[in-house]
Amino acid sequence: MNAIIVSAFLGVVMMFASWSIKGENKQKNIALFGLIFLILANLAQLNGWFVAEVDTNNMLSFTRFGLYTNTLFYCLTLIYIWINGEEISKIGNHAADFYALFFFILCGASILTSFNNLLMLFIGIEILSIPLYILTGSDKKSLFSNEAAIKYFLMGSFSTGILLLGITFIYGATGSFNLIPPDPSVLNEQFMFSAGLILIFAAMNFKVSAAPFHFWTPDVYDGAPTVFTSFMATIAKSAGFIAFINIYLVQYKPFEKTWGIILPLVIISTLMVGNVTAVFQRSVKRMLTYSSIAQAGFMLFALYGTSSFANEGILLYIVVYSLASVGIFAVLVKMKENSFEAFHGLAKTHPLLAFLTTVFLCSLAGIPITGGFFAKYYMINAVLIAGAGIWLVVVAMIFASISVYYYFKLIQAMYFIPGTPAIGELDKSYTYKLAVLAILILVLGVFPNLLFNYLYF
């Protein structure tokens, strides 16, 4: 509860800060301090030092897993703002507004890690989504950004409608919004219950951009300002995954036979659409959006989980994928254009930056000694332990090797093709910040268990 209250409060604080405190740097620092405070508040609950008691009628329940996930989200946001602060202030006139939106998104994410009730799921998703629509359209003078925002808003609303319909069906079948799986004998309308589950499944797929509900993703991610794409594709999307897992893996696992048939189809089509389309992209940004669809396919494997591999794996995947994506988008922000040609010869002029980009790309591709390898490893292990059939993993791995094709195309552009890179001004300190990301990825690539040490106590 601490985190939900504090994040909402901080959101309001940042809104006021936008006119009462001048200077973008100051505003950024306030946001960073706020985040640290948020992390401390959340840790206070995690360790039972101080817990704000609010009677929610069991609509929210705070598990260790949920609270730990919160911490990870906040830390990732902290890193994200620390790196991208300058770029954020370049967009629009009031940077503090964006920070306020980030805090609201985090508030939604905190609800999504702890909901125990379908209405709370709905509220969490809406609190998360509406700021995202605004962030997408934040570059008011760009037509692409406006188009993306409208598209996202319309399609997002539509999927919310589907979500609500699903919730209604489940309410009709069980007579309760609570997520506690009903006694099968009480289910008077089995069909209605299954339909509800599948509708919610579809709506959640939309939120995490899994095929065939992915159509909004490329345009929205491409149209949004690159800094915000970075946030949307990583932290915001991961919150959707946690919600997804919370419903289907934790609560509705016993009803797997209704949605379990669709799951492999969704996974394979997501992997196929993401990976195959990414191969043909000419713009790095668009390639990364399709790659984010492809990565979602891998993250969906966690839904098979019957073991700790699934829970741990999704956390590791979220962290590693977010670190790498934040890193690569942070490089992309500095480029003058988004084409592959812009990267030609980067290794000659900016050797360290090129190396760091290589680490991020290798992590996305899942190559050992980067964290991405263990993320994929945990997913494979989860699926195989759940007994989902080895063919699914083999297909996924074939797509993973296709992904190497487009990730390494960027490495080729940087290292092997001579040219002058179209890169803007770059501080030394900016590169060093990215180096911190790369080091985190490499450390998790050799000792992934560092992430889980704190999960169980």
Binding site: I367, I369, F373, S401
Partner: protein
């Protein structure tokens, strides 16, 4: 002790990144690789050694290194190859020498890890680590078509290793104590059906790496386009990773599935041998000729291993070492000629014996070893391997035996074109070859004949591994 094989190359490689001076970088690399060589010789003289440290406790993965005979012989080969390669090619390394050497040493680090790892996850780790530096080396400093060719090689191998990863997880799930150790893997309760699945997943990775017949298409291009030092690493050491994988992991872990697939694999290998030999005859490019000849030799080793007879496997273990030495010698000679004449076409060579008698003698020496003439090291291994193939099936043995004749045709043809005849204009440009390269070649040639005449140390070295495979 075992850790030094991982650490020496790794630390030197890191160090080299900061040494801009090409000359001192070269010296450091040579000293480091010679140090590894000394360690390898000491290791070969000792009994089996282990190193164990915890790594990822959640997964029960351990940093477990284990050196038995099979590992030792390949560690020795790696340790000999790297200083030889660095010394012999030190004249024609690219501008950013330190980066080039650093990547080479990272590759050595990965290779050593592959040969020593006794933990499946660690094995997979090093398996990939050996590949990545090679990808960069070839893509940056290779020939004209380098990017596409190396990329094909990379994706091919990566796909294979991902399949192996699934296989590793698959077996891991079936171990009783949830461990990646090779000893636990060997005790995993796999039924015959599950063994076949695991076998297939591992085998794809090894087959691509070797490569076996239908999966070989990446190899000649990659050999041709890579910088020569990298080609040497690939053909002398890296292809051995596949064969090593079969001997270390496939055969002991999935014996039932192994026996069930003997026929398919042997026939594929024999097709590969003949196919590669026939193509080698038609080659004019000396690098491609050596590449195809290498495919044929690797195919023979694979066929002998899959004959599942003790002598065949013994022969293959020795040949792993001998083939590495021979092919290394051939590459170095070919490289010297190419560097000085600027051509790889054998049409344009000729008269080497008149112009450069020493080099010609060395070439002939390695060529004879390539045909496995008695007194050379390859004879010992190949004799045992053909013997096992004849015992396995006389027709298969006969078909594989044809390759001896074919090998003689293309190798002697090469010698004839390059060494004898009129002195061509290109050969006429040649100047004296540098001393270090000459010394390396002479040392290699000495190894060829010493182990050819007196192969007993190699038998002794591999005895324990052989026994382990056949006691089960």
């Amino acid at each position: 002790m075992l850790l030094s094989f991982i650490l020496i190359p790794f630390v030197t490689a890191l160090l080299l990144l900061f040494i801009k001076n090409g000359k001192s970088a070269n010296t450091i690399a040579i000293v480091s690789t010679l140090g590894t060589l000394v360690a390898a010789i000491v290791l070969a003289g000792n009994g089996a050694v282990d190193f164990n440290a915890p790594w990822i406790p959640v997964l029960h993965a351990q940093f477990f290194l284990h050196a038995d005979g099979l590992a030792k012989i390949l560690v020795l080969l790696t340790a000999i190859s790297f200083p030889a390669i660095i010394i012999a090619t030190s004249q024609n390394q690219p501008k950013q020498k330190n980066i080039f050497l650093s990547l080479l040493l990272f590759a050595q680090n990965g290779l050593m890890g592959v040969f020593l790892a006794g933990d499946a996850l660690l094995f997979y780790f090093f398996w990939e680590l050996a590949l990545i530096p090679v990808y960069f080396l070839s893509s940056i400093w290779g020939g004209e078509k380098r990017i596409a060719v190396t990329f094909k090689f990379f994706i091919y191998t990566f796909l294979g290793s991902l399949m192996m990863l699934i296989g590793i997880v698959f077996v891991y799930m079936h171990t009783s104590d949830q461990s990646f150790l090779i000893t636990s893997f060997a005790k995993a309760n796999l039924t015959a059906g599950l063994q076949v699945t695991a076998f297939a997943l591992f085998f794809i990775a090894f087959a691509i790496k070797m490569p076996i017949f239908p999966l070989h298409t990446w190899q000649p291009d990659a050999y041709e386009q890579s910088p020569t030092a990298v080609t040497m690493v690939m053909s002398a050491v890296m292809v051995k990773m596949g064969l090593y994988g079969i001997l270390r992991w496939l055969l002991p872990l999935f014996p039932t599935a192994f026996v069930a697939h003997i026929n398919v694999v042997v026939i594929l290998s024999v097709i590969g041998i003949l196919y590669a030999s026939f193509i080698a005859i038609r080659q004019d490019d000396i690098k491609r000729l050596i590449a195809y000849s290498s495919i044929a030799h690797i195919g023979l080793m694979n066929a002998a291993i899959f004959s599942h007879l003790q002598i065949g496997i013994q022969g293959a273990m020795i040949q792993l070492f001998s083939h590495g030495i021979n092919v290394l010698g051939l590459w170095i000679v070919a490289d010297i000629i190419e560097q000085q004449t600027g051509t790889r076409s054998m049409q344009q060579m000729g008269g080497l014996a008149k112009k450069q008698p020493t080099l010609a003698i060395l070439l002939v020496g390695f060529a004879l070893a390539n045909i496995a003439l008695p007194l050379t090291n390859a004879f010992v291994g190949e004799f045992l391997m053909f013997n096992s193939l004849f015992q396995y099936n006389i027709w298969v043995g006969a078909a594989a035996g044809v390759s001896i004749i074919l090998a003689a045709i293309y190798t002697l043809n090469m010698v004839q074109k390059v060494a004898y005849g009129e002195v061509s204009t290109q050969i006429n440009q040649m100047q004296t070859i540098n001393k270090p390269a000459q010394i390396v070649l002479i040392v290699l040639l000495i190894i060829v004949f010493v182990t050819g005449v007196f192969p007993q140390p190699l038998f002794d070295l591999t005895a324990d591994s052989l026994q382990q495979i056949f006691v089960k």
